[in-house]
Symmetry: C2
Subunit: 442 residues, 2 copies
């Protein structure tokens, strides 16, 4: 890198600055509902959770913070979501250029850097998509809240805007203490929110393909095809599994009408991979559903969007590799394209390091609490995948454990995208190769 | 395959036959301490556990079965361990020939099959190593039990032989209800057993290198070097982590002397990866130690030995891949050799399918019991890795869950080695290649 600041480091630093700034703002007495200064850990935890669009909270957003405080949180979510989408897209452009250069066998000059034109261009489009989506959803929610819930206009508009921004950015913050449980059977609230979650979480590269080549699906990139297929599959798996696991649970689905069951399962499936709203009580779900959540939360949403986790594309690449092996194919293929070996190696690396982070986080938090392991694992994966769902223990964790969660949110958010990019930008051919040997497997 | 029976299918069938035969024998009233016929599920579970050298039990081996029944169990362990070591070594030979043929670009005639000479040769050496190791360890244990525990000769010899065979085959069966907890501070019992576990579990290919090229470590195979390094690292990690996690636990280490702590931690580290004896109460350990056990039990021991799990070599290949990626190297290297890409793909496949099996098993058992998730995960990984440790719930699980455990033991034992072999034997070059594309990761 010839630039002063490596782009992946710039992203990491940018998020850090936003967190520091957010913490300071949230410590202002003005941000507190009781006009006191919030303790630094509460402000810090909330700022990290907002900037990393996670939604884990140690205090109730709606009653602890003033409207000013809630606005800060909303803006931090917006900045975090927008920043991540833009930064990840720009890193993706750089990666693509670097790959193109390499395949063209051009001399390896360091031309990874982007012009100002690219940056403003991407930022503009991202901003446009974001604002349009958020305003439409906010309008929907506001109207519904005004007409069906007898909210005054002001309150309905504030709630609609807050939840629209929170949903599009997959932030999962709600000004209701029960997240969205009061709307559990209201499709007019939940469906727009699900739309916002999916659009925001599918990732910018996919949105671009859908926008620019809407009528030409054959020319969508392999990434778009893989992400859409993977997302569809995960939505179906999550829907069916939640329905199956909760069907007879007296604390959740058993007493619901058929249509409410379907709506709740659909919402849980959409929201669990990274958005982090809940329309039913997570703490009351079966342990099977929790285990399902581990899986969905760890995978997360699409690359270069507002979603967290190791990303759908990463998981699909791994799945394709395993399928190819089982078929006895030496190439991993999909949609008439071959997945390059370096993409496979990066996918495995992201997966393994993500798992290692989760294991470490779990072990460290288990040391300092008496909460059962399954709840701790839930909390840790929720933080790593910047999901924000909780079985209800976040506020009761000791301070050290809360700090571990902030670290997981930060590395889960910033780490996965910068890691993959820096792996690709840093890769180089070996000057010599050792002789190959085939060690025994299994 | 031109042969009537594909070799990997022959292995799977052989284990199935041994299980059926063992179940029938254990149902004889003669096998039961009270001279009654054991229920079929008890006999079946015990036979699967013995043939798959796991050691999970639903009844107490020492009091439920007669000496005849215990002998059946011992013989099943011996047959299972010997069969697995021989079969896996032979599959390994076939795989090596197939790889050599391919690199020599000889026409792809189906010459995977082995001559009778190979089979008897390998079987002879495996039998020799097994008998010599077992007799030495049995002698040690018998002497110690006779002199230090005032056992009559007959009883001491029986106990020594049983535990030596159980240890070398990593079977984990004990005729004591408390496994080896009564010997928790007796290094003269635990150290020989640890030796037997390591020698039996390191795998035949490594033993051969050590035996034949003892003075020429530079010419050991990459597999041997990777397995020895990985085993050493895992032993150290397990030792330090158990010590750290249990140090202040009043139910385990807190009341022990310093030397007992060290001995117990060492024994837990050696035994947890697959042998399945325990010198301290697993159920009384901290949740952190359980989580550590998930990790160690899943990895298991060396390939083509009596150990289970996805194997140390598999884990090391994955680790090397991640390390190479982080360094920006396109090749994954160790000891001046390059790990072939097909070995990497196989390692990932074994890892992913093993994880999938564990997740599935956990979900299914969670459906049918109220035991906490952490204990269920422990049981499932213990069965998959044919470890045999338990937090104490095996006997109390419903019958359906016990059947799931038998399936996990069988697939954990037979699946990992046949899967890898069949992947390699089945791999073929593609007649054409699709254009490569690099989807986004992370
Ligand atoms: K979230
Ligand atoms: K075992």
């Amino acid at each position: 890198m010839t630039s002063l600041l490596h782009p992946t480091r710039a992203v990491a630093l940018g998020f850090l600055l936003a967190i520091v700034f957010g913490t300071l703002l949230l410590m202002l007495p003005l941000a507190h509902a009781g006009n006191q200064s919030a303790p630094w850990l509460v402000a810090f935890f909330t700022a990290v959770s907002a900037v990393c669009v996670t939604g884990l909270v140690v205090v109730d957003t709606g009653t602890y913070w003033s409207t000013f405080g809630q606005s800060i949180i909303m803006i931090l979510c917006q900045v975090g979501g927008f920043g991540m989408m833009t930064a990840a897209t720009l890193l993706g452009l750089m990666v693509n250029r670097s790959l193109r250069l390499r395949t063209r066998l051009v001399t390896q000059v360091e031309t990874h850097s982007l012009g100002l034109g690219d940056v403003t261009n991407v930022a503009k489009v991202v901003l446009g998509v974001t604002l349009v989506s958020e305003l439409i959803i906010a309008a929907f929610l506001t109207l519904r809240m005004y007409f069906a819930y007898d909210m005054p206009w002001r309150e309905a508009a504030w709630s609609g805007l807050f939840h629209a921004i929170s949903a599009f950015n997959n932030a999962g913050f709600s000004i209701h203490a029960d997240s969205l449980m009061r709307y559990a059977s209201d499709a007019f609230i939940l469906l727009p929110i699900m739309m916002a979650i999916i659009v925001g979480g599918i990732g910018f590269p996919v949105l671009q393909d859908l926008r620019v080549k809407a009528k030409d699906p054959r020319h969508w990139s392999l990434h778009t095809k893989l992400t859409l297929t993977g997302t569809g599959l995960l939505l179906i798996i999550g829907f069916v599994a939640v329905l199956f696991f909760e069907w007879g649970n007296p604390k959740t689905f058993a007493t619901m009408s058929m249509s409410d069951k379907l709506l709740s399962a659909a919402f849980a499936s959409v929201s669990s991979r990274t958005a982090g709203f809940n329309s039913i009580d997570i703490g009351a779900m079966t342990p099977e559903s929790w285990a399902l959540h581990y899986f969905l939360m760890f995978i997360g949403g699409g690359s270069a969007g507002t979603a967290g986790g190791v990303k759908v594309g990463t998981a699909v690449i791994l799945a394709l590799l395993v399928i190819a092996e089982l078929k006895g194919h030496s190439d991993s293929e999909a949609f008439g394209r071959r997945v390059g070996p370096s993409a496979q190696r990066q996918a495995i690396t992201v997966f393994v390091l993500g798992s290692a982070l989760v294991v470490m986080g779990t072990l460290v938090i288990l040391r300092s609490t008496d909460f059962p392991t399954d709840q701790v694992i839930f909390e840790v994966i929720s933080a790593f995948g910047t999901v924000g769902l909780s079985t209800g223990i976040t506020a009761d964790l000791p301070e050290s454990a809360q700090l571990v969660l902030t670290a997981l949110m930060y590395f889960g958010r910033v780490g996965t995208i910068t890691l993959a990019a820096s792996l690709i930008l840093g890769e180089r051919r070996m000057p010599y190769r050792f002789p190959e040997e085939h060690p025994i497997v299994g």
